[in-house]
Amino acid sequence: MKKISIIMAMLLLVMAALAGCSGSSDTAATTAAGETTAAAAGETIKLGVIGPLTGEYSMYGTSVEEGAKLAAEEINAAGGINGSMVEIVAYDSKGDKTEAVNAYNRLRDQDGIVGLIGGTFSGETLSIKEIAVGDNMPVLTPTATNGEVTLNAPNVFRACYTDPYQGSTAAVFAAENLGATKAAVLYNIEDPYSEGLAEAFNEKFSALGTVTNFEGYTANDSDFKAVLTKIAESDPDVIFLPDYVAKVGIILSQIQELGLDVVAIGGDGWDGIEVDYADVAEGDYFANHYANTDEAPIVQNFISAYEAKWGKTPSALAALAYDSTYIMAQAIEKAGSTDADAIVAQLAATDGDYVTGHITFDENGDPVKSISMIQVVGGKHVLAAKVSAE
């Protein structure tokens, strides 16, 4: 009896699996057929989003999804792309490369997407990259900052600046705007983002001043007092902390406990630091994609629309995804069809003002834009300067 129930359960599982697989295959056939022809008015244009919607890093993926969906809604309300409605199809990657590849393959074959807004992380974007280059899929990643992402990939663009660019800009800001001569760097050696920023900062600042300490820690470290004491001995003017909020908050708290007199500088991973660590981050600076206190109407309209739709303050990732969706939609509109080559050509010709600044793409597909350096003052973001590394 028990055996039979087990067999039944297994059969059900297998059937569910098969049903899930076959259910959407017919839609794929129709969209694949319609792909090469010009998008007829009324036909839906699908754009894919890939990111960690569940798990440890779900806040990043969800921000991207929400930003993209908000943009799609606005585009549709304004009449869509040449009369076609935009639909965002978002799939979860759990931040895992295997899942990201499956999600991308599914978006392409089952959903028939015209362009991809993603992946959210550099790792997942890099694992999709080679396949996407082979497919000639127009890819515009809002948030993948790794330098490699757009190299040798004419169809891959990004809306954010790269890790090296951000690191060197922070170094220029520290030396020129803050007048620092001695800097310490403390970074996460296991994280490509943190490492990329740290190295670029180190290289740039070495030319402008002295880097007194270049120290690493690993992802699971939580006590930084020993290394901070060591850093304190060389008495730097600034300390560069390129990591995400959760870790930076701990380091900043320990800096305060030790009573170090040093200004901390960070990257866009600091976005949202004012929520939990406003007091310890007071007076510190970080590079970001936009300042939410920026008075420009496009920025304020985005913030109020996002708050109205999702009931929370948008993160920089949401702003980038929002911009990316607009850039992609405008490229499809100008291309006048869903032909990949035409869209890629139009993406390359992008030139306009968006929430995260004025965007044009260089020959790699990286954006050319200045970086907003934000100071945390009284739990709020204050735009300190707009800097570029050159």
Binding site: M10, L18, G20, A28, T98, L126, N146
Partner: protein, 331 residues
């Protein structure tokens, strides 16, 4: 090899060839698009990883939690070899074969190096030490920045793993593991699982066979990692974290410790399940976990236990049934 076994092998070979031909026909007919093909490739890679872990955990009875470490070693060795050979003008298949062999050898050597000290311990202690070694491999890869790209990841790996070569590599791995577990060495390995002291008492060289089993498992994990590297064309050390080892172990436990066919079926189900549940979006991982919990409650020994699925077995059972019916009719 007696006649019955030979017949068995021929039947299985035909079945494998039929599966291959069937999938090929479906691919060329467009029924299996590249999305499904991608999933099939991940299934094959998981089969290699799970069956090899099954050798160490199921047949040898040593609970190891560091399989992702061997996979990582193989993946990086294979990727670096292929990058070096990329512009040599060799055909892709040859590059793949050379890099997979290199991956298998290096991973097996790492397996021996870790196995000799680690296998002195048993049970929980072994699990913890293999977990530690698995993480060590990952950290070493993270720090060999000039060679592996460190945390930034390794790019530029040729994308040469296709359905065809992954399928046949998988078939070969299963064949070797099947032969091994049914050979003299295999029986020695199983005897260690059943009772190490008794095995030693009857003259089985336990240390030798433990290290042998462990090294072979590690070598095949390296092959699985190599195929993974050549399909994804991108590697970073985070892929090979502790959770990857657990995922592989879950496949083995679900399929049945000590059953190669169990691992194969479990790998198929557990690779398809998260994809098939995509339409449930947020509840996907919940359903996946729920399926696992159900399975473990109703069948803690796994789908197959220690039994193997075989066509001969089905035929034997059918014959028994038929004879029984005949006997009843006579009576």
């Amino acid at each position: 090899m007696n006649r019955k076994m030979l017949k068995n092998y021929i039947i299985n070979l035909i079945v494998v060839a039929l599966i291959y031909a069937g999938i090929k026909v479906l691919i060329s007919a467009g029924v299996i698009n590249r999305y499904y093909e991608g999933i099939i490739i991940f299934i094959m890679i998981n089969i290699i990883l799970a069956t090899s872990l099954n050798l160490a955990t199921g047949f040898l009875g040593q609970l190891t939690l560091g399989h992702a470490g061997f996979m990582a070693a193989g993946a990086y060795v294979s990727a670096i070899t292929a990058i070096a050979l990329k512009n040599s003008g060799m055909p892709n298949l040859l590059i793949l074969i050379i890099s997979l062999i290199a991956a298998a050898i290096v991973s097996a050597l790492v397996g021996i190096a870790i196995g000799i000290p680690a296998l002195r311990l048993r049970g929980d202690y072994l699990a913890i030490i293999t977990l530690g070694f698995g993480e060590m491999i990952r950290v070493i890869i993270n720090n060999l920045r000039g060679l592996t790209g460190g945390a930034q990841g390794l790019t530029g790996i040729p994308r040469i793993a296709t359905f065809d070569n992954v399928f046949w590599v998988t078939a070969l791995v299963i064949l070797v593991l099947y032969r091994l577990t049914h050979s003299r060495q295999g029986r020695a390995i199983v005897s260690i699982r059943e009772d190490e002291i008794a095995a030693e008492a009857v003259g089985v060289k336990t240390t030798y066979f433990k290290v042998l089993g462990f090294a072979i498992a590690a070598g095949f994990a390296g092959v699985g990692g190599g195929l993974y590297a050549h399909y994804l064309a991108f590697l970073d050390p985070k892929i090979f974290g502790f959770m990857r080892s657990v995922e592989i172990l879950v496949i083995v436990v679900l399929g049945g410790m000590g059953s190669l066919t169990g691992s194969i079926f479990a790998a198929i189900i557990l690779t398809i399940l998260p994809e098939a549940l995509r339409s449930f979006s947020d509840y996907r991982m919940l359903l996946y976990s729920f399926a696992l919990v159900l399975m473990m409650i109703f069948r803690p020994i796994g789908m197959f236990g220690t039994k193997e699925f075989s066509w001969q077995g089905i035929y034997d059972r059918y014959k028994m049934l038929r004879d029984a019916v005949k006997r009843r009719e006579k009576a």
